[in-house]
């Protein structure tokens, strides 16, 4: 840490909802396509019409299991669903089917670390993961000045995993990094697309301060729940703001945890502040009771083993695999893995073709990723394929041209879409043969007696001056070869 530590510890717990990547809703066959016209993906079950009955989507349950296993949770052998009762226009049944006392999984953890060491590695405990249905959407156009809200129930009944962490996170930065890791994990495993813009991932945060007192006691400020954060960056900003706000409040009032009911505050991204939300005093009384329309679910060890076996490597394992398999740095492995599964596939194909990881990784970091970021889009659509990059690297290794020339070729292949061989021919790049190189070096040596004298005097690095001149005369020369040839010729002179 560079700045002075604040006189308090920020204590953060997160509650994350992710939409599971199913084709249909949790309890009916309506599709979950985002952005369809309002109320076109609804049926008697998800509208809560009398006489309809929910039936659990097997795929949703298995994806939820997969998420829980990836989060190192224990899986309950027996699980059931409960009704959470409240009235809201976007909840047509008057209750949400959720899980109360017997969630299907509990007691897990997910670690996060920063490859540059911005914070200590942190293991964040998971209290529980449960499976529930989403509510619909209410829209109110205040500008239009109408007295009505419009209700779209397309989202009603969409499967959600709710993930609740222990209050183990200790800074806004850690919270953001942990969310990035969670998202990466769930996307890798195909559990969710975690698209925040489309509401596939939503975060609420609980935060308070622990303030050491002179008598050794730790004072704790009242816990605040922050809502309405629309990006991980917003989460980080909102938590940083809220920690400062609570510190100011503490200094003014010395109010401690337990002196008031839990407060909910909404994040205003434009203003950069949290605002108190009206407290609904009855809102915490959900009167849960067992859902009579759904029978319980049991899970066997065999089922758990089968799902575990089908999961593939989570990002944390994959980073280590890449590091050891291709002998690249932890930092490089982190960059590659954080770009997603497809990019890792691209890298491994390239490394396999090149026959080693280091060069492949360098080209990924310096060229492929940079151009991909500039262009936008997915790696699958990137026009320069691993075979072409491997071709360029191979030609550099065999001395046809140097890396900077290789970069120019890469850029040209990217721009024109031509094969590497055509670009090389078109740019007039041909390997400089040895006699041509020798003649060029001899010419330079006779024109630069000072450098020759320096080299003869023991300063071999003076030969570098000739490489630049050689490149000017013939851009295709290989700097390494020029250097070797020049030194050889000078040595033979004495």
């Amino acid at each position: 840490m560079t700045a002075a530590s604040p006189p308090f510890t920020t204590v953060i717990g997160l509650e994350v909802h992710v939409q599971l990547q199913t084709k249909t809703k949790l309890f009916c066959g309506c599709v979950t396509t985002f952005g369809s016209p309002p109320n076109t993906q609804v049926c008697p079950t998800c509208l809560g019409l009398p006489g309809s009955l929910p039936v659990m989507n097997r795929c949703a349950f298995e994806l939820a299991l997969r998420a829980a296993l990836a989060l190192n949770c224990k899986i309950a052998a027996f699980t059931k669903w409960d009704r959470k009762n409240y009235f809201y226009p976007d909840l047509p049944k008057g209750y949400q089917i959720s899980q109360f006392d017997l969630p299907f999984s509990y007691d897990g953890h997910l670690e996060v670390s920063d490859p540059k060491g911005a914070f200590e590695p942190r293991r964040v405990g998971i209290i529980r993961v449960h499976l529930e249905e989403d509510a619909g959407k209410s829209m109110h156009d205040e500008a239009a000045g109408t007295a009505d809200s419009r209700i779209d129930l397309n989202r009603t009944g969409t499967p959600l995993c709710e993930i609740v962490t222990q209050p183990d996170i200790r800074s806004p930065q850690e919270a953001r990094a942990w969310l990035n890791e969670l998202k990466l994990l769930l996307v890798y495993l195909g559990v969710s697309d975690c698209n925040m813009q489309e509401g596939s991932l939503r975060v609420d945060a609980n935060v308070n301060l622990h303030i050491p007192q002179d008598d050794g006691r730790i004072a704790k400020t009242p816990i605040v729940e922050i809502k309405n954060m629309n990006s991980f960056r917003s989460v980080e900003r909102a938590l940083a703001y809220e920690a400062e706000r609570q510190w100011g409040e503490w200094q003014a009032t010395a109010a401690e945890l337990g002196s008031m009911p839990k407060q909910t505050r909404g994040w205003d991204d434009a203003a950069g502040i949290t605002r108190g939300q009206r407290h609904k005093e009855e809102s915490s009384d959900y009167r849960y009771f067992p859902e009579p329309d759904l029978v319980p679910v049991t899970v066997t060890d065999d089922q758990v083993a089968a799902i575990r076996a089908s999961m593939g490597e989570p990002p944390a394992v994959l980073r280590q695999t890449l590091e050891s398999r291709w002998e690249i740095s932890a930092y490089d492995a982190d960059v590659l893995v954080n770009q997603g599964k497809e990019l890792v596939g691209y890298f491994e194909e390239l490394a396999t073709l090149v026959g080693e990881g280091k060069a492949a990784s360098n080209w990924m970091q310096q060229d492929v990723l940079r151009c991909l970021n500039e262009r936008g889009g997915a790696i699958a659509d990137f026009p320069v394929r691993p075979t072409a990059v491997a071709d360029i690297i191979g030609r550099i290794k065999q001395g046809d041209f140097d890396t900077s020339r290789g970069r120019e070729i890469f850029a040209e292949v990217l721009e024109t879409g031509k094969p590497v061989a055509d670009v090389v021919a078109g740019m007039g790049i041909a390997a400089v043969d040895d006699s041509e190189l020798k003649a060029l070096c001899a010419e330079l040596i006779s024109a630069n007696p000072k450098i020759v004298a320096d080299v003869q005097g023991g300063k071999e690095q003076a030969a570098g001056g000739l490489i630049g001149q050689a490149k000017k005369k013939n851009p295709n020369v290989n700097p390494g070869k020029v250097r070797a040839m020049v030194l050889e010729l000078i040595r033979s002179m004495s």
Binding site: T24, N39, R58, C59, F61, A147, R150, G266, E282
Partner: protein, 108 residues
Amino acid sequence: MPAESSPEPSLTPADVKKVALLGRLALSGAELKNLTAELSQIVGFVSQLAAVDTDAVEPLAHPLDAQNVFREDEPAASLPTSEALRSAPRQDGECFLVPAVLGDSGSA
């Protein structure tokens, strides 16, 4: 199983008021008085169960002796929007209309 001595549960008008609020029911003074008495009787009747020793009894999650009922993740037809909205008190052909809702849903 009539219980020997079930403690008489007493509901107060405040309890009934709270339940009415949760159920979004507006009760008049007379209704509140009547319901307090009636609900007390109902709760008293049910609370006879408290006399049964259930220490060795597993909580029942569901009255049916069935488990693991699933459907496959296969799309089925949804309702046409006009049908979905048909019995709504108010709608605009696209959405259900309700009195203005401001602020955040208490959901999920």
